[in-house]
Assembly symmetry: C2
C-alpha cells in the first residue's frame, strides 16, 4: 500500500510536471484519495520571477574573481546535444583535445609519479605521491573521474586523482573506465568491480577509499551498491564530490539553481542527453545508475561536498540523508557561492584547498 502510494506519487509528479510544462499552469493539484491523510497527494508548481544575483560576497576573493570572469550561465547554450554516435564521438574527441595536459606537467605540478597500467583488463593510471603520509603507506585511493559518464577518459582522468594523491599523501589509482557511445552502462560499473576485486587481493577493504567528483562520485556510490549485491566487502571510505546520484530530473536544486550554476547550468539538453546515452535504455532509477535510490545499509564513512549554487546540491544532500538514515557516518560540507565542482577547477582558491584538506583529514580518520 505504501509502496503503491509512492509509485502513484511519482507518476503523479511526472504527469503534472509534463502537463504544466506544456500549458504553463501555475498550480496543479492532483489529489489521490486512497484512505489516509498522507496519501492525499498534491503537486504544486510555482513561477519564480527573475532576479539579480550579485557575487557571493561571503565566498573568497579568488572565487569571486573567477565568477566575475565567467559569463552569465546561459541555459540556451546547453540545449545542443549530439544526436548520433558520430556526433557524440566528435564532441568527445574535441573535449579530450582541449583537456589533454601532458602527464609530465601533472607530475611536476602536484609532486607525483604517474604510470599507465592495466588491472584486470581495465586501463588505469597509478599515481604515487612524493610525500606519502606514513599513515597511508598501505592505503589506496581508487579514483573515478567525472564528465557525465561520457567525457574525460584517457589521460584527462588523472587530474583530480593527482590532486588528492598529493594533498592527502595517499597512493591513488585512477580508473579509465569504459564509456559510451561504444560502452554504455553497465560497463563503467563492471570495470570498477573488476579493478576493486583485483585490489582486494592486495589490500584489506578498510585500507581502500573510493570516490570522485560528479559522475565519479555517483559511480563510486553505484559501485558500492554493486559490491554489496556481489557480496564483496565495502571499502573503508567514500568520497562523493557533488555526486551525480540521480540521473533523473528530480532534485530540487536542478530547478532552483538552474541558470545559477555556472558549470552545469541546466539539466535539460546536454546533461540529460548524456544520462540517456549512458543509461542506454535501462531504468534510470536502478541504484547502479542513480545510487540515491539504493539501500545504503552497511555503507562505509562517506565524505560529501557541494555548494550553494550547485545543480547537484540536492543529489548530494539527498544522498547524505539516505546514508544517515541507514546509520552510516556521513559528513556533508556546503560551500558558499560554489557551483558544481568549482573546487576541482579553482585549485588555488581557499575553498578548494579547504575541501582537499578536509578530505585528507577524513581519509586519515577512517581508513585503517
Amino acid at each position: 500500500m505504501h509502496k503503491q502510494s509512492a509509485a502513484l506519487l511519482r507518476l503523479t509528479h511526472t504527469f503534472t510536471y509534463r502537463i504544466s510544462r506544456q500549458i504553463r499552469t501555475r498550480l496543479v493539484v492532483v489529489a489521490l484519495f486512497t484512505g489516509t491523510p498522507a496519501s492525499l497527494l498534491h503537486a504544486a508548481e510555482w513561477e519564480i520571477s527573475s532576479r539579480n544575483l550579485p557575487s557571493p560576497a561571503g565566498a573568497s576573493s579568488e572565487l569571486n574573481a573567477s565568477i566575475a570572469a565567467s559569463p552569465r550561465p546561459n541555459i540556451a547554450s546547453r540545449q545542443y546535444y549530439p544526436k548520433t554516435v558520430e556526433e557524440w564521438n566528435a564532441v568527445i574527441a574535441q573535449r579530450a583535445a582541449a583537456r589533454t595536459k601532458p602527464l609530465a606537467e601533472v607530475e611536476e605540478q602536484f609532486g607525483v609519479t604517474i604510470a599507465a597500467d592495466e588491472i584486470a583488463g581495465v586501463g588505469v593510471f597509478r599515481i604515487q605521491p612524493n610525500n606519502i603520509q606514513p599513515a597511508h603507506e598501505k592505503h589506496l585511493f581508487l579514483y573515478l573521474h567525472g564528465g557525465a559518464y561520457v567525457y574525460n577518459g584517457g589521460i584527462a582522468s588523472v587530474g583530480e586523482a593527482a590532486v588528492i594523491a598529493s594533498r592527502a599523501g595517499i597512493p591513488a589509482i585512477s580508473i579509465d573506465y569504459r564509456m559510451p557511445p561504444a560502452d554504455p552502462f553497465p560497463a563503467a560499473v563492471d570495470d570498477l568491480v573488476s579493478v576493486y576485486q583485483e585490489t582486494l587481493k592486495i589490500h584489506n577493504p578498510a585500507e581502500i577509499a573510493i570516490g570522485g567528483t560528479a559522475a565519479g562520485g555517483g559511480l563510486a556510490l553505484a559501485g558500492v551498491h554493486q559490491f554489496k549485491t556481489l557480496e564483496l566487502p565495502v571499502p573503508g571510505a567514500i568520497y562523493a564530490g557533488t555526486p551525480w546520484a540521480d540521473l533523473t530530473k528530480t532534485g530540487d536544486t536542478l530547478f532552483t539553481n538552474e541558470g545559477i550554476d555556472r558549470v552545469l547550468v541546466t539539466y535539460d539538453g546536454s546533461l540529460e542527453a548524456a544520462a540517456l546515452l549512458y543509461a542506454n535504455g535501462h531504468d534510470m532509477k536502478d541504484p547502479r545508475l542513480s545510487p540515491v535510490y539504493g539501500d545504503f545499509s552497511g555503507f562505509p564513512a562517506t565524505f560529501l561536498i557541494t555548494g550553494t549554487r550547485d545543480l547537484f546540491l540536492s543529489d548530494t544532500a539527498r544522498t547524505h540523508r539516505k546514508l544517515r538514515s541507514a546509520g552510516a557516518i556521513a559528513d556533508l560540507h556546503v560551500y558558499e557561492g560554489m557551483s558544481h565542482a568549482d573546487y576541482a577547477f579553482e585549485l588555488a582558491s581557499p575553498e578548494s584547498k579547504d575541501i582537499y584538506a578536509e578530505l585528507a583529514g577524513f581519509l586519515e580518520q577512517h581508513l585503517r
Copy 2:
C-alpha cells in the same frame, strides 16, 4: 593590507549592488589593482531569468502536501514593515495573539510539564519531559526561541523547546529574553548570559546544550562568542537550526532562494526591518549580532540544520565552515525542498521527525 583589501571588497560589493539595483546593469566589474593577483577584485551581477519550480519530488509526501497547500511565495507581501514603535508593538501583539496556544495543550501534546519561572531576573519556562532519557538526567537544554529577535516572546517561546525536550528526553529551559522595540540588542545576549551564569552554578558546562531555530540559533552562537569574551566556559553542545548568523544581506542564498523560501520569502522589507530594529545602530557585523563574523576557536560540538529552499542555507553553511576551520566538531544536515524552519512547523513530516531524532542522537553523543 589583506584586511584593507577585504574592506575594499565589501565596500565595492555594497556600491556595485546599490548601483546595479538602480540602473539594472547586468554586469558590473570593478577592478581594484593593488599589486597582487588576489586583490584584482571583481563583482559580477547576473540577471537570472524566471523559471517554473515544481514540487520537490524527492521530499516526503507530507512536505509536498504542505507545500502544495501554500501560496506561491510573494515577495511584495513582505515589503511592508512597521515604521514606528507603536506600529511594531501592534504587529507584535497581533502575531502573539495568533500564536498563543495554552500551555496545558502543549503539555498534553508533547508529554511535558511546563512551569513559568525567573532566573536572574529573566523570564523562563522550565520544561520537564515525562520520558527523561537516563543519560540526560543531569543534562539541560537552554532553549532560545526564534522570531527575528522581535516575535514569539512569552508563552509562544515554549513551542520548539517542548518538542526537543520530548523527542530527546532532556529537561529544557526556554529563555523568554527581552526584545525590541523596548529592549534592543544587547538585551537578548545579556539575558542569555545571565541565565547561563546561574545555570553554571548547578551544572557543569559539558552538561548544558544551548540552541534554537532562526534567531534562536543565531543568538545561541552569538551567546557563545560572548561567553568566550567573558571567559565563561563554553557549553557541551550547540543546536543551530537554520541560524540567523548574519544580519546583513550577504549570504548567497538570500538571493538564489528569494521568492523560493515559503517561510521567509525575502530579506528585503520586514526581515531587514527586524534586523535594524534589533541592532539599534550597532555594527551589524559585531559577532554578538552576526555570529558568523566571530572567531569560532574553542566552540563546542555544533549541530546545524537547513534545507535546499532555505533563505538561510548560506548562513548555516557559512557557520559550518567557520566552525570546521576552527577545528570544531560540526554536523551539517540539508533537507530536500525544505524552506526556512519548515521542520519546526511540519512536526508530523518525516523530515521533521528525522531532524529531532538526529538532534537527540547528537546530544546523547556530545553532552557529558
